[in-house]
Symmetry: C2
DNA sequence: GATATACTCTACATCGTTGTAGAAGTACGT
DNA sequence: ACGTACTTCTACAACGATGTAGAGTATATC
């Protein structure tokens, strides 16, 4: 029933292979032949059977993006950027959600479902440094995020420590001394929480401000709800606070909510800064300052790396950190009304390791 | 290099087809044989070549979801729900963004890229009723949204008119009389904007309140930014306003921003209600009342319909409208603090048409 | 004018799986 | 003992494209 190359070939009076050549833009096809084939294709409404081509070429032209949840704005925006970047190079993106569940994240690496695509962009949230070995996979993989360092795969990550330091430093510059943190993870050594907290501590040290554990609020999941709860706890604890560094924007939104509930003036009484620079923060009241980790560049870089690996490059594994910026808005008093001001730029870097990738099987 | 069924068969001492049978859970395989095959699979690390299976079975197990942009919270959450619903049934989801560009939306229907998947869930935003003919496609298609009615494809849509009527009625119940609309599209007859505006007008009529064009604010794109602009214009126009119905939540967020800027008390001076019930509205200050159109059910229903069409069902085309609810929060004074109250429920419906689907080619 | 080179096209095998048809073995009722 | 039905397995031919090798012309080079 479906039209095959065979049918097109017949109508055009050429061999199947010639049709294939026309379809794939092979240059050595006589103009008149090309036209006849194209006429036949149009007339018969031929469309390539991609499964057959995939089988023959061992390529699918698709990559998988594994994220925790698209309903988290950061990942939705990341997915948006990844799809755009992939599309520009002619790749399609299959999206899978792990729900930040350990089991599902392990399944990603086990590769049971990988077969549909040529490679995987993976943003883990449940796995940690202890799971490093699981990242030795035999398919093209690029890791995103801060859960795991040193895996045998290209890695696109953020300038966490520096950016968090700069964000905190910015609060200090505006005269704040009692800076609370929302979203710490006790005992974590690696991971966004630990790294950003480290940046915070470094900024305090730089300014000679003593570190006060009472100002550090824990939050398991980095959602709006937990941000609000944590902020509430900090405020109700009676600790004096004149600024808040929420370790991501979702929590910053929640924190803002908690601050508003208590009729606290922002930035008058308490300044607030987040991390991720998601769209939301430009429309809150007041608008929220944040750290822009370079989402578009992260996406583009990750896609480029993955496509190169799929292409079979054997270059050493790289870790890439895009430029990041601290964007000042109303919540830190940098602007009044809409608009924003870049108050710091952290240059990115490319680290070439001497580790070779595992041969893709 | 890669392990084939052939290799597994050899090691297990059976035919390739038996390996296939084991892998696919065919029941008539002796227990001892099954174990031998499984041992061979594990030992060799065999993984099915899905391209080959796709070629043979003419199925890919994937569907495409076409949305305007994932960075719009509604579509991100919709995608989340679709992926979950599909996953439950063992399907994977490829996501493509059209950017709400007419050309790209037409390409979706032209099916140039459809070949990768077994069917398409399509949420158009640029196409309109005039493009109805383009929806006569020869592949399984389910349409989402309100841009087009009467296409020859299953359609999952919202209870727009009724829900908008109920939302407006709710504002009226709380004593409001000067209810502004944010997001109208002049001249539109079909489409979310027109339908929701119709519901608004109907509620006014029901309550005997005259319709005042000065209260209707136009907004092209339904983004936060346009919501803020439109709200600003309405406020600055000097028209007396005691409530606002934003035709979607993104604009409600923008409107909230504009209201705050002008130090207007919500819901004291002006009440606000949105539409979509995205996660954001539970974390703003005040929390925003909204219309929950049944996102999960929309996603689930759409996936079910599409899977049925892919399965070759020839049942008449259906239009399905899930239940919708008006959710009252702080911005309409229904609750204080967090929490919410369902203030109205609009039952959904299933419309069986007598139109047959086009034979899938 | 002979040889080399490039262009244009074809025939055929092949990618790795599943559907079909049927062979061999087992179980059971009569 | 025999037919019938079921179970278990196999051989072989697809599915629809592309890679390879090479045939036949046309064009360039010496």
């Amino acid at each position: 029933m479906p039209v095959r190359m065979q049918d097109v070939a017949q109508r055009a009076g050429v061999s199947v292979k010639t049709v294939s050549n026309v379809v794939n833009g092979y240059p050595h096809v006589r103009e008149s032949t090309r036209r006849r084939v194209e006429e036949a294709i149009d007339h018969l409404g031929y469309r390539m059977n991609v499964s057959a081509r995939n089988l023959r070429t061992r390529r699918t032209g698709m990559i998988t993006l594994n994220v925790p949840e698209l309903s988290l704005p950061y990942f939705a925006e990341l997915a948006d950027s990844v799809i755009r970047a992939a599309d520009e190079q002619g790749w399609s993106v299959l999206i899978e959600q792990t729900g930040a569940e350990r089991q599902r994240e392990l399944e990603v690496l086990a590769g049971r479902r990988r077969h549909l695509t040529d490679g995987v962009l993976f943003s883990p949230l449940a796995l940690g440094q202890d799971d490093l070995d699981h990242f030795d996979v035999d398919f093209p993989l690029v890791v995103l995020g801060e859960r795991v360092f040193g895996a045998r795969a290209d890695h696109v990550t953020m300038n966490n420590v520096e950016a968090a330091r700069a964000a905190t430093a910015h609060l200090i510059t505006t005269g704040r001394r009692r800076i609370a943190v929302v979203g710490a993870h006790a005992g974590e050594v690696i991971g966004s929480a630990a790294l950003r907290l480290a940046g915070y501590e470094r900024a305090l040290a730089d300014a000679g401000i003593p570190f006060d554990p009472a100002l550090v609020g824990e939050a398991g999941l980095w959602h709006r709800a937990t941000g609000a709860e944590t902020m509430g706890r900090l405020l109700d604890s009676g600790t004096g606070i004149d600024a808040v560094f929420a370790l991501n924007d979702a929590m910053a939104l929640g924190a803002l909510h908690a601050l508003h509930e208590r009729r606290i003036d922002i930035p008058g009484d308490i300044a607030l800064i987040g991390f991720d620079d998601v769209d939301d923060v430009r429309y809150t009241v007041p608008t929220i300052s944040s750290v822009d980790p370079g989402r578009d560049e992260i996406a583009r870089t990750a896609v480029d790396l993955l496509v190169a690996r799929i292409g079979g490059t054997t270059e050493p594994i790289r870790r890439i950190v895009p430029d990041a910026r601290v964007v000042g808005r109303e919540s830190t008093g940098d602007v009044r009304g809409d608009g924003e001001r870049v108050v710091a730029v952290m240059p990115g870097r490319v680290e070439d390791t001497d580790v070779s990738p595992l041969p893709a099987g």
